[in-house]
């Protein structure tokens, strides 16, 4: 059984039907990407998984346990971490304090210190800026902080919402390298991206979401080669 299974998920925002029977699964150890245009429902899917939204129908199973409708603070303890869209760093708190909050649910001080060190090795920029308020970091640095902070929860499944948004190509490449590294170290990743090109390069599996429905699901390499995907999301011909 896969680490994360979503079955026939429906989400409404009042009268707006944002997800219509979404079904997908994430195998342990993989990077799975969810791509789609603006308003397709990618962020909504991640929010439903991490408990920030309550689905109106369907099931979400994490590691064999039903988790839909459970509050986020319980899910973090189960091993789910979410780096939300728009980064959501705590602007007036220092980088250091932001990282501490990432480890909020953990009690193993030694393990946290080790993970902290790992994160700071992954993102040396953050080490230089530990005492700086997070709001004064550049966009790319804030993204690194958001990812690093989520990693400090030592998640089994990391949900990343558009980590490349608004970043220069150089920085995007760095971020994707790091995503691969995190995965190689054993963390399963569900990656939401508009940058389908990069996402399909690092992912094992891909899903394409269009106005609340999954319209394609396949190995990432197959999707990257498919004409439909190339036309719609890769600006290809």
């Amino acid at each position: 059984m896969a680490l994360l299974e979503i079955c026939d998920l429906d989400v409404h925002y009042g009268a707006i039907h944002a997800l219509k029977g979404v079904t997908l699964s994430v195998e342990a150890g993989q990077i799975v990407t969810l791509i789609g245009g603006n308003g397709a429902g990618k962020t909504t899917t991640l929010r439903a998984i991490s408990g920030l939204l309550t689905p109106s129908a369907g099931q979400i199973t994490f590691d064999g346990k039903r988790i839909d409708g459970r509050p986020p603070h319980e899910l973090v303890r189960l091993g789910l971490a979410h780096a939300p869209e728009g980064r959501g760093v705590f602007a007036n708190l220092t980088v250091d304090e932001n990282l501490d909050l990432g480890a909020y649910t953990r009690k193993d001080a030694a393990g946290v210190a080790a993970d902290r060190d790992k994160v700071l090795r992954l993102f040396p920029r953050l080490r230089e800026r530990l005492l700086q308020p997070a709001g004064t970091l550049s966009g790319g640095e804030q993204q690194m902080l958001a990812i690093g902070r989520a990693l400090l929860a030592r998640p089994r499944l990391l949900l990343l919402d558009e980590p490349s948004l608004g970043l220069a190509p150089q920085v995007v490449r760095t971020i994707f390298d790091i995503i691969r590294e995190i995965n190689a170290a054993g963390t399963t990743i569900l990656l939401v991206e508009q940058n389908a090109h990069m996402a399909l390069r690092v992912a094992h599996m891909g899903y394409v979401l269009e106005v609340g429905r999954i319209v394609m699901a396949d190995r990432a390499s197959v999707l990257a080669a498919s004409d439909d995907v190339r036309k719609a999301y890769l600006g290809g011909h």
Binding site: S50, G51, L52, P71, P72, H73, L75, V76, R77, A81, H82, A83, P84, G88, V89, F90, A91, N92, L93, E97, D100, L101, G102, A103, Y104, T105, K107, A109, A110, V112, A113, R116, D117, L131, Q132, P133, A134, G135, T136, L137, G139, Q142, R149, A150, A153
Partner: protein, 367 residues
């Protein structure tokens, strides 16, 4: 540095308590010195001013737990003050009658009367905390603005209810015949609750303030406190970190109400004050909000500085009393224009000099 960090990572309540003993001793000593040296030397005017300052500091620092730490907007803090004041006042006034046959001050320092007064403060604080729970639980589940409306309504409803209470009973024979319910509803109505014995001293005010400051600073430094601040910074991200935001908001609110209740109890037993529904109405709440906003939402020392300033200044600028609200409003507008985060922002005064260059301590940056 990393080793020390790991040790300080999640201080439990036990740790917090053990580290509070030293500071509390210091505060006790300070309160003694103020009472035994400063008060006799400075005279009654400054004695009252010191008590007023301490009480306003209690109010500002406690409201800061809600408005500053968790970023909620409560504008009914005086309501909690009223709950604490009336409950404590009823305990000492009617309690003194029952115990000693008269409401006069009974016994000296830590004598029977003082102990009754402390019990009254505690009971007042607990009632106020209970009221905070009832008001906070439903509204803190909802978005921020609801809390403002609910707290405002709470203060006003309370004021109207207090105005409906019966005259204070002062004839011993009538008190002997009265049921507890009759006593609890004889709180003086619109005229105010007169006759409460004057137990409040500079010593007790600063002991209570010391307690609150220790709680507040320990909170801010602990990972629990970090959780409070994160809610104010970004509630969704705080949830995503695994923080039960509703529980924390309620906890901050109840704690703040508890200390506002104690402030109210001190106010009720202060020389020269009459506990009066009008005095603990919206205007008082507004004064406290101003202190927090001026000092900087989230800055404990900022709230203290603002509370001292806003207590002392009006005292020496009595000619301008009519202009007070205009001056407050103007200074708020100027503040919002030039320093929207308050004097000290989220940080403490001493942290302003500790930060590396380029890192403005209260910088809002790209949020």
């Amino acid at each position: 540095m990393l080793g020390a960090r790991a040790a300080a990572l999640r201080p439990g309540y036990g740790f917090v308590l053990s580290r509070a003993v030293g500071p509390f001793g210091a505060f006790l000593a300070l309160a003694f010195v103020m009472q035994l040296v400063v008060v006799p030397w400075a005279g009654p005017f400054y004695e009252k001013l010191l008590m007023d300052i301490g009480i306003n500091c209690l109010l500002a620092v406690s409201l800061n737990l809600v408005n500053g730490f968790t970023g909620q907007f409560s504008i009914g803090h005086a309501g909690f003050m009223a709950v604490g004041g009336y409950v404590a006042g009823a305990v000492t006034y009617y309690g003194s009658f029952v115990l000693w046959g008269s409401p006069a001050v009974h016994g000296g320092f830590l004598g029977g009367g003082d102990l009754l007064f402390l019990a009254g403060c505690l009971v007042g604080g607990l009632f106020s905390a209970g009221a905070g729970y009832l008001v906070g639980l439903p509204s803190l589940r909802l978005r921020g603005d609801y809390l403002a409306i609910v707290t405002l309504g709470f203060g006003e409803i309370l004021r109207v209810l207090l105005q409906q209470t019966n005259d204070v009973i002062f004839v011993p024979a009538q008190i002997e015949a009265a049921t507890p319910w009759q006593m609890a509803t004889a709180l003086g109505g619109a005229l105010g609750f007169s006759g409460i014995p004057f137990y409040t001293t500079v010593f007790w005010v600063f002991v209570m303030l010391g307690l609150l400051l220790i709680v507040a600073f320990r909170l801010k430094e602990s990972s629990e406190g970090r959780a409070f601040l994160s809610i104010r910074e970004n509630e969704i991200a705080a949830e995503a970190m695994g923080i039960d935001t509703t529980r924390y908001k309620v906890r901050a609110f109840v704690l703040a109400a508890f200390f506002a209740g104690i402030a109210g109890a001190l106010f009720a037993h202060e020389t020269g004050t009459t506990l009066n529904p009008r005095e603990l109405g919206f205007q008082k709440s507004f004064d406290i909000v101003i202190m927090v906003v001026l000092g900087g939402m989230g800055s404990i020392s900022g709230a203290l500085v603002a509370a001292v300033l806003l207590t002392v200044l009006p005292e020496f600028l009595r000619e301008f009393a009519d202009w007070r609200l205009v001056i407050y409003a103007l200074s708020l507008i100027i503040m919002m224009r030039f320093r929207p985060q308050g004097l000290f922002g989220i940080r403490e005064i001493w942290e302003l000099w500790r930060k590396p260059p380029g890192a403005s301590p209260a910088g809002r940056g790209a949020s």
